[in-house]
Subunit: 380 residues, 4 copies
């Protein structure tokens, strides 16, 4: 089955394994005329680079992106943009041990059950390196959104049990650039100094115990007009749910108050509409997280993804081998004790990709807009 494409009229197709020749993506459906070069993409990729703190793998990955097609004289041409990052730092180490058993929490067993065998080097297709293509494509999507005035703000809400205090609304009130600065001040991408400090302490304890941690990534989308998405299966939140849940290690997804709304009441959870000083419709609160009935409502969209702890821990674990024997294993090698900080940009990328597709598909929603577009664009 073909499972490596995402999107409809803005579509990405990723490829590549951890220890193959490289990883990459074909981004199809980018409008012609967008200014684009490698630096636009590289700065996104650099945000997921490991080795930036003691909490990410010391493995050096100089992931340098190359544009192979789809641009001409610094602009996109409307044809597919092929992006590649060659694998440079793959040690030809001995994988025979890891090939022989199933690591708990990894895709080893399910891969063998589905395909009969697997490329066991460094996780193969299920490696975190698979997200390089997503992030590269997301850089293009984010640039399109930025051109239209739509912004994404993504950060670690929680590292293990340590959560920031500020609500999304409080963070937005501080201003986008203030929060961005805060985030860049710690390698965990947390927008609160206190929480970041506590989280670092927590992670150090984890590492001492040869253990690992999970966490929660939150993404806020501002500047999105009302009416994007659809009423039934192509709800904007449904597509965001799929896009975020397609990231490895995600076990939960929420919009707005999410699971908390299940325990709330209608009166508490409903967001009252009010006219604001500019005579625009506003919601007084945003429990809904910016989506009503599957469509954006003009408020900031708030989404959260729960990441499980890194399954590769240094402690001894129980598992079975391919001969059907119960064994004890110790996974060696370089592993992130937490993937959440590196996942922040992946969540942002998938969100941006989903939004651009929704935006393009929405253009034919109304006869009046269609007719106006048609006569303007085709000069008929």
């Amino acid at each position: 089955m073909a499972g490596s494409s995402f999107g409809n009229i803005f579509k990405i197709t990723t490829w590549g394994e951890s220890h193959g020749k490289g990883v990459g993506v074909v981004v199809d459906g980018v409008p012609a005329g967008l200014t684009l070069d490698e630096t636009d993409i590289q700065k996104y990729l650099d945000r997921r680079k490991p080795g930036q703190s003691k909490f990410s793998t010391p493995r050096k990955e100089d992931d340098i992106v190359e544009i192979l097609s789809g641009t001409f004289e610094g602009k996109t041409t409307g044809t597919p943009i092929s992006l590649v990052v060659y694998n440079r730092n793959q040690k030809s180490k001995d994988y025979s041990e890891i090939a022989s058993y199933y690591r708990p929490g990894h895709a080893d067993y399910t891969f063998d059950m589905k395909y009969g065998f697997r490329d066991y080097r460094g996780g193969g297709r299920s490696s975190g390196r698979e997200t390089i293509g997503r992030v590269a494509a997301g850089a293009i999507a984010a640039k399109i959104l930025h051109t239209l005035g739509i912004s994404l703000l993504t950060y670690s809400r929680a590292i293990g049990p340590v959560e920031i205090k500020a609500s999304p609304a409080e963070l937005l009130a501080k201003g986008h650039s203030t929060v961005l600065t805060k985030i860049s001040e710690n390698s965990l991408y947390m927008p609160e100094e206190d929480a970041a400090k506590k989280a670092q302490d927590y992670l150090e304890q984890c590492m001492k115990k040869c253990n690992s941690a999970g966490g929660i990534v939150e993404c806020l989308i501002t500047g999105l007009p009302a009416g994007l998405g659809d009423t039934v299966f192509e709800k904007l939140d449904a597509n965001l749910a799929k896009s975020i849940f397609s990231i490895g290690a995600v076990k939960g997804f929420e919009i707005g108050d999410g699971f908390a709304s299940a325990a709330s009441t209608g009166l508490d959870n409903n967001d009252a509409f009010r006219m604001n000083e500019n005579a625009n419709v506003e919601k007084r609160t945003n429990h809904a997280g910016g989506i009503l009935g599957g469509m954006s409502d003009g408020s900031p969209i708030i989404l959260r993804a729960a990441f499980k702890p890194t399954p590769s821990v240094a402690s001894t674990q129980q598992t079975v081998n391919k001969s059907g024997e119960n064994i004890d294993i110790n996974i060696h090698g370089r592993h992130d004790p937490i993937i959440v900080p590196r996942a922040v940009v992946v969540v942002e990328a998938m969100t941006a990709i989903t939004l651009v597709d929704a935006l393009f598909i929405n253009m034919s929603a109304r006869m009046d807009a269609l007719t106006n577009f048609y006569h303007t664009f085709y000069h008929t």
Copy 2:
């Protein structure tokens, strides 16, 4: 944009509004030779029928399904199955008031923003009646799964703040049919008597206060072999996330330990593999909820959906009207104080539809299985 189809090679397309002539679904990709008649579908539809308790709208909806195509002499023919439920009980009441303003928590405002106007009668396309097509299609999907030995067990885990105590594993230990009987004993579809009693008390309080409640639906899938789903975008959990999040009022989705896993550690969250007495690979625990790396791992799949409280409450609420004035409104009419019990079968239906598509797509995953199928089926 076309947003009313779901699935790839098992595909459903729903249509219909609350107060139009009817609602329905075209189910395409059903294999030929499945025994099927209206009663298979009707018994699923009856599970979402309102008026079965004081906690659902007293509105009478005798939703009688009719098969218009795709079966012959009691069997499916492989051609699309068109199912229709005509709307019978739509009062020609005066909707001019509701047409003039935006109900908080509803899709009124976003509909107008997207389409310029809306069919405001009873929620139009965003009505709960839209799920009739999903449930009807889900009945067919569930029958296919049942034929193969795959079962679904779905119930209310929480009604407002009242949650059942038993874990999925404990419920499964009691046996599928025992739990089913428990569920059928209360109109809230909770598998624990105590919790059901408390939930009823809670809902009565809500109703007295002209308020409403939300809750959590949980679905367990047993009998599914390992290896269904895919590694990247077509992860089984990603598709389940989309299918469940496409149901109205869903604000959160989890697999296995979900958000709780974000605060856990690798050692606690990893499920150790062990050989069982039948020399099969098993997991000792199931924090993963039956999915590893996007593919089923042979354990029961556990998913949860958080539903927000019914937005239509009898209390006075603030909103704006289409003239841009702040107003107070009182929503009249018959409304469920909670939709969770009626959503149970909708969650089950969407889950079944997603699984059947995953199952069909997976058939070409391996050359050995493909070759064997080819020579067996085509007698070459």
Copy 3:
């Protein structure tokens, strides 16, 4: 497999068998705000009605269409439009004979090979009645095109060996309405009196010999701007090829000079560009049939479909039965000696559906158009 949907963001899904309860279509992706009622659709359906001349089956089919969803107060709402035509005239005749053997030229044998059995009543899903859904959907697509100034002119170019003399350019020179009048003057929908007369003589000879005829349908599209379609797989001609070839009995498809261009030379076949008196780019000739490199070039699009002769003939034929015996058969019942005149509107419908999808998808082709649309429509 799901094979009854066509289109991407303007998508139709048909259902129904010849002798089931009815046939229908769900049209999804229609922009909100299009004026639409049953008469818009009925007048298209009436063009494929049998019994209008001695060359079509005397079977009475009063195909009355009903809109079940997707419109409100005479306008489309943006939600799926469900259209149904109930089967009224299906005689409960004895089909046991036809069930026992495979009619030459029909889908009986392939149906049994694929599905194991078939609904043998009147051709089942492979009946010409399957096109009712296409024509109903095509009526909506054609109305959208008409609103934008795009017109379709479709007629019989050839009935058996009898072909009209006028080229597409000559017909267009006469004016759209003049040709339409000509077409309506004969039941074969030929735009030339002489040819129509000869074709009628030819068909009468066919009928006397208990034989049948095929023919060629031609469709001209005018008013389409340049730049629709795409460069690689979504070429406008590739999608037209699929849409037309999906009509039963089509065995050939051409654009512009088609097969004749294979025997031509570059110098003869190239269409020179010239500036016209209005300072617009024009082609002096139109061998290309309005498409260059998969995209419309602003000239009229010319397409042709070859239909095989009706396979149901009254003469004795050889075949095999389901017991594996060679037998002689005589097919009884009411059959069109030629389906070409009734196929004219089906070709037009599928063409219109394909164009609308291409038009919608094309809206996000350029950053300048996208940005302009975005700020105009969302007032940002």
Copy 4:
């Protein structure tokens, strides 16, 4: 819009321009366990290599394919296979002249109309080099078919007005390998010595006149079981029509007798079924070209594609420039006087890709086959 992917569960995505860094394809949905290395693909690519005769461009294109992902230890893993061919021979010549005008018969004008500008170097995305990705992917598809006993035989039926005499049936009677040998004996890939000689003379005349030629490619598929394809939009012939028409320069497509059947009669065109000596159902003739009602009927499938003459001719031509002036141009550079021989392998590749997708999708057509597969494969 995303227009560079083809197929559903066997899906290819091509990328690349004539004078960019390279061209390539991602092949997704290849079953795990297929033996595959670069030589399997290279030998297909070599069949489209120019410079093999005086009738193809003397331009040297050493197109060396590299597998970047999706294989492990010589076998496919089930993950996407990324294939790249770097452009090596692109002269940095001056393209300013060609950039300034629209070449007749090329996509220059339509590209500008759609995207606002174009990569004018060597045809950009509309270059014949775009087919490299198709052919590379087709090599994998053909290998899958070969494993199952399905063969493709593809050749030039006509070069300009010179056509071979043998019918498809006569060629098949000679035996697949005999015909293959014949085809390889002349650089025009014609399976008849006489016709090949005449075609060469014809092409030499064309070249002397600074002119070019078109032709017809024919493809025969043998070994395909009955029942592949579908009844309505996913007809096997409809998908073949799209796949073949998506190749540049194709202007016509036929199955079986194609356009000739339009002038035939039912009695002449119907293929009688008969039991053969092995007690299998056979057709006595094959006017239908192996497809009835959209599904394969077990006979060889016969398809034909008409290619227009190469638009780049050395003679002076009329056109307009981007300033809106009428001008005369002379196109310089290396151009094939005919592309038909090089297109033979492209037609074969697209056919193979289409068949594999149809084969995979068909696996869930019947409950009996599904149930048997399920219990065999999953050992339940």
